[in-house]
Symmetry: C2
């Protein structure tokens, strides 16, 4: 490669990296927008979240195209290739996390339009905070090539799964106590499920970050092993 | 490339293709195993489904590794590169469809162990049949490079989404009529949700098949457009 080509190649990689971070920032604001809209019943802001899912989708299409161009024209190897494969897979998780935000917004709209708010004291808000934090940490770990920060998110997902089980139990109790609230409880159950899925996507992305940084595929190996590999030299 | 290298390269591509189809066959049998176990309460067969999810995971790890080797050493371009990118993305959907089968098996085990069977007449069996058919068609479309067959699956997913909405309504009615059956209904709701997700994964894979065959990214463009692009020369 000439120095010029080399610089251009680096610029292309950097462009993919920074566009992916932008996509992540958008998805993060979609999730907080949906959750805030659920809390305060601001229908206009819920509509905005629903409309902006198309932007998330555009990021997915554009980023995948940019990656396949780089693969075709630059034929990256070693760390650069791992970065490409990682981003190609992370894009999918990011887009689906965005889909979950849209689902939450639709459900929140339904709840408020039907005047069915009066939230039971489920742990939904805490769960929402946790998964937004996880997503932000996943993006930071990707940006800073920090495998150990990524491993922390994988660990955190265990907590989200436990909270999700707690929410199910709470909602079932709530429904049994007052069958008139079954419909609303099912809607809240779907919102909690969407949050749990966002946690999964953040975890998936973090396992990919460990692979990108360390070159070891840690998926399906258990969180203790993920932490070990992330800390290894 | 020498003729020898060329043959070896073709063999590597063929190996990835056929391993992916094997993975798909396994996931298909996982789903039918979970659903049959739900229907007939055969706990041993449900345990087998749960245990075999590890095999699905191994396929994911091995196939991703094979793809990244090919990308690094053969630096494929054009149709071969599209095939690699498609498989890398399809593997993720296939593994997650496998996860859903495992979730169904776990839920079915819970239902039968608690003696909570006596299924309400929800459309679960029909939905299960449909998504298994969709998955099989997705694999066939991939194997035969058949974009139009892939587009049919994208269309079929609309029907699954409608059935899923129907199941939710049925289960809510059921819970309101007999609050003692709330727990069981929630379990069935999760099973239906898992089936709906499997339908989504089959749809996602089929959109990727259209991209692989036609070179056009049809995601997020609507089913009419997917059909048009799949039929175009």
């Amino acid at each position: 490669m000439t120095e010029h080509t080399h610089k251009q190649y680096d610029a292309e990689l950097e462009e993919v990296r920074s566009r992916f971070l932008q996509m992540g920032g958008l998805v993060e604001s979609q999730i907080t927008g949906a959750i805030d809209g659920l809390a305060n019943g601001d229908l206009a802001s819920l509509e905005r979240v629903i409309a902006r899912d198309a932007e998330v989708n555009r990021f997915e299409i554009e980023l995948d195209e940019a990656c396949s161009h780089i693969l075709a024209r630059r034929q990256p190897t070693a760390g650069d290739l791992r970065m490409m494969i990682t981003v190609i897979k992370m894009i999918t998780d990011m887009e689906r996390a965005g889909d979950e935000a849209e689902k939450i917004a639709r459900m929140a709209k339904l709840i408020h339009e039907a005047g069915r708010m009066n939230m039971p004291a489920v742990e939904l808000w805490h769960m929402a905070n946790t998964v937004v934090t996880m997503l932000r940490k996943a993006l930071d770990a990707f940006a800073r090539l920090d495998a150990q920060a990524a491993a922390q998110v994988v660990r955190q997902d265990k907590g989200v799964d436990a909270e999700w089980q707690g929410v199910i139990r709470q909602l079932i109790t709530y429904m049994i106590e007052d069958p008139r609230k079954i419909s609303r409880s099912i809607e809240l159950l779907f919102i909690a499920k969407a949050l749990e899925r966002i946690g999964d996507h953040a975890k998936n992305m973090c396992e990919l970050v460990v692979y990108m940084v360390k070159g070891r595929d840690v998926r399906h190996t258990g969180v203790d092993n993920v932490e070990r590999e992330a800390a290894a030299n």
